[in-house]
């Protein structure tokens, strides 16, 4: 593994395989009565969140605590960033505290790279702008393999605001490394130029869902409204929302995934979200194991 996890783009297939294998061992730990291991005792991690986040931050924090690290939380409203300190000074200050890991979420793409270049600590990207959210893609892969046994050759439909979704981007990079067949579905205004990754693009969701093994839904961010990416949430749901009828076009054993938080009735109906095919809550559980694995491997540790 490299020093940092800045993105899936920067990982090899072997690195990814190693994370997924290690995550499986940690998932066993999480099933035990005592869910804590001393793997990273004495190490310090700072969770540096420049964007509001509840789920990802909680998941990281739980993973860190399960590994027995000392955890510092640093979030924008209480920090010196509001006093006008530059990002560079903030991270140099944090480094001077002597931390071993920096978990970073930031609204600007490339910030984890910028930090990784400037500190010795291991940097873990918890979401940067519209670039990547690598731990989400790793936990999605883990969740798929758990049910399907493999990623190779699966038909994966990713539906929604692909252009602004770091989750979609990281998934595309990961799935393409494992030769999955990726279909991007959404309004033309929200599909980025990703031809280099061999994706297929569908503006018609019914067409795109046919025969899919995985249906990965994305959250529609409310700030996209009123900017003419689509005219209304009602119209959006009509053409790109997942309901049971549409889900019926995918394979019978297709999995429904969503990184959360969901907008029920906007991109996904409650019936689809809560159907037996849904693995949305498994994704949440697996997130902890995968994040434990990432931190564990970035210390250069061997599999226990």
């Amino acid at each position: 593994m490299p020093k940092d996890l800045v993105g899936i783009k920067e990982l090899s297939k072997r690195d990814i395989g190693q994370v997924l294998d290690t995550a499986s061992s940690f998932k066993d730990v999480l099933r035990r009565d005592i869910k804590k291991v001393p793997a990273l005792r004495g190490k310090t991690v700072v969770n540096l969140f420049f964007e509001p986040s509840t789920r990802t931050k909680t998941s990281f924090e739980l993973a860190e605590k399960r590994l027995s690290t000392d955890v510092l939380n640093f979030s924008v409203p209480t920090s010196s960033v509001v006093k006008g300190e530059s990002l560079f000074d903030t991270i140099k200050t944090i480094e001077a505290y002597g931390v071993d890991f920096i978990v970073i979420r930031h609204a600007s793409s490339g910030v984890p790279h910028f930090i990784a270049e400037n500190v010795n600590a291991s940097v873990i990207n918890a979401g940067d702008g519209t670039n990547e959210h690598p731990t989400q893609a790793l936990l999605d892969a883990f969740s798929i393999i758990e049910k399907k046994g493999t990623l190779e050759g699966l038909n994966v439909a990713i539906v929604g605001d692909i252009a602004h979704s770091r989750v979609a981007k990281s998934n595309i990079y990961l799935l393409s490394k494992f030769n999955a067949r990726i279909r991007l579905i959404g309004p033309p205004t929200l599909i980025p130029c990703m031809e280099d990754y061999g994706v297929e693009v569908f503006y018609d969701m019914d067409e795109g869902l046919r025969g899919a093994d995985i249906v990965m839904m994305l959250r529609i961010q409310m700030e996209r409204q009123g900017r003419s990416f689509f005219p209304s949430t009602q119209e959006y749901f009509k053409y790109w929302g997942l309901d049971m009828k549409r889900l019926g076009l995918a394979r019978k054993d297709a999995l429904v995934m969503h990184p959360g938080p969901m907008n029920r009735g906007i991109e996904i109906s409650s019936q689809a979200a809560d159907s037996p095919q849904s693995v949305i809550l498994d994704q949440v559980t697996n997130g902890i194991a995968v994040r434990m694995a990432v931190m564990y491997l970035l210390t250069g540790g061997e599999k226990q």
């Binding site: 783009k9 530059s86 990002l87 560079f88 930031h106 609204a107 600007s108 793409s109 490339g110 910030v111 790279h113 910028f114 940067d128 702008g129 519209t130 670039n131 990547e132 252009a163 770091r166 981007k169 980025p192 130029c193 990703m194 031809e195 280099d196």
Partner: protein
Amino acid sequence: MSKDILIKDGHIVDPSQDIDYVGDILIADGKIKETRTQNSKPRAQNSGLETIDAGGMFVFPGLVDMHTHLREPGFEHKETIRTGTLAAVHGGFTSVCPMPNTSPVNDNPTVTAFIIKKSLDEGFCHVYPIGAITKGQRGEEIAEMGLMYEAGCVAFSDDGRPVMSSIIMRRALEYSKRFNVPVISHCEDLPLADGGVMNEGGLSAMLGLKGIPSAAEEVMVARDILLAELTGGRLHIAHVSTQGSVRLIRQAKERGIPVTAETCPHYFSITEDAVKGYNTNAKVNPPLRTQRDVEAVREGLKDGTIDVIATDHAPHHLDEKLLEFDKAPSGISGLETALGLSLNLVGSGTLSLKQLIGKMTIVPARILNVDRGTLKPGSDADLVIVDMGKEFRVDAKRFVSLGRNTPFEGMSLKGMPVVTIVKGKIHR
């Protein structure tokens, strides 16, 4: 009173007089007295003559940069008139034209007069300010073009911002005809650029950076060409960066519309790939484009569609570039690399040396109607002696500009200005 100077045995290239031979230049009283071939008989020379041996080197008229940011007044931490003109002289330029996006904006004759006075007091080369098209560069009402023209402005531009309103651009092109000055357009449709930070395409998607489509430049190039046709005003398109813009300007020229255009070394030297790794020194507006655009810009230079090579020297402080890519300001510190990068066009066979030097001397001087860019007897002795064989590595730490923001760090270039002479004053 400057000393008389004899520059001996240099290869003189002066497109304004169609000179391309090895010979001598005699400078007296800060003016060019004579240019002669090596074989012609030397005249009697006075004893106080300083001789510069230019054997094996090239001598060009001092370069004219029609697109510079000197940042003073208001942003002296980025650059000053003193440091910017010193950087110019280091790069072989003897005339620069500072854009009006200072603080306060150069939108009135008082600011123009300040820049000119400061340049005369502290500057190292000639400075011809460019005034704002609109008050405060807000694009709402035209500025006092006439008064600024009288104070010394040679052109008008809202550079850094487009004039989004078509009616205001129309009025500016019409009104400028009274003074026969060009209106320089920064072509960017702001709503279409939509806050983008790099070229739009596969790479912007991959880096998760918001893209600016080529069309954001091209729709404004097209609009301004139509307005130039409507008004007969002299339109000059700044920093052409796309294939589509080159095509539009080529068609406009074929139809006889009064339009000229410039590009900058970074648009014919490197592509958007320089942004990889979130390199804020490669963030510039318009953004670096694709190989296809680079080739189109070179083709435009070759066939004369693009008249001028300008630097768009846009120095920024180190701390301002050491930021999130989204937040870092756009711009490249270009005065000290422009000549070396441009000479690559000669090496690659895109331009002859004479064509290249024309685009950096007499052509911009004529567009701006200033008496520069020539070695004609009687003109001010502005020239540069260049060692074309000498290779140098771009090292921003050694820039004399306060702006160290270059995407060319570490690149090997040929064509080092060895001596620059401004009005008979020697800078080595």
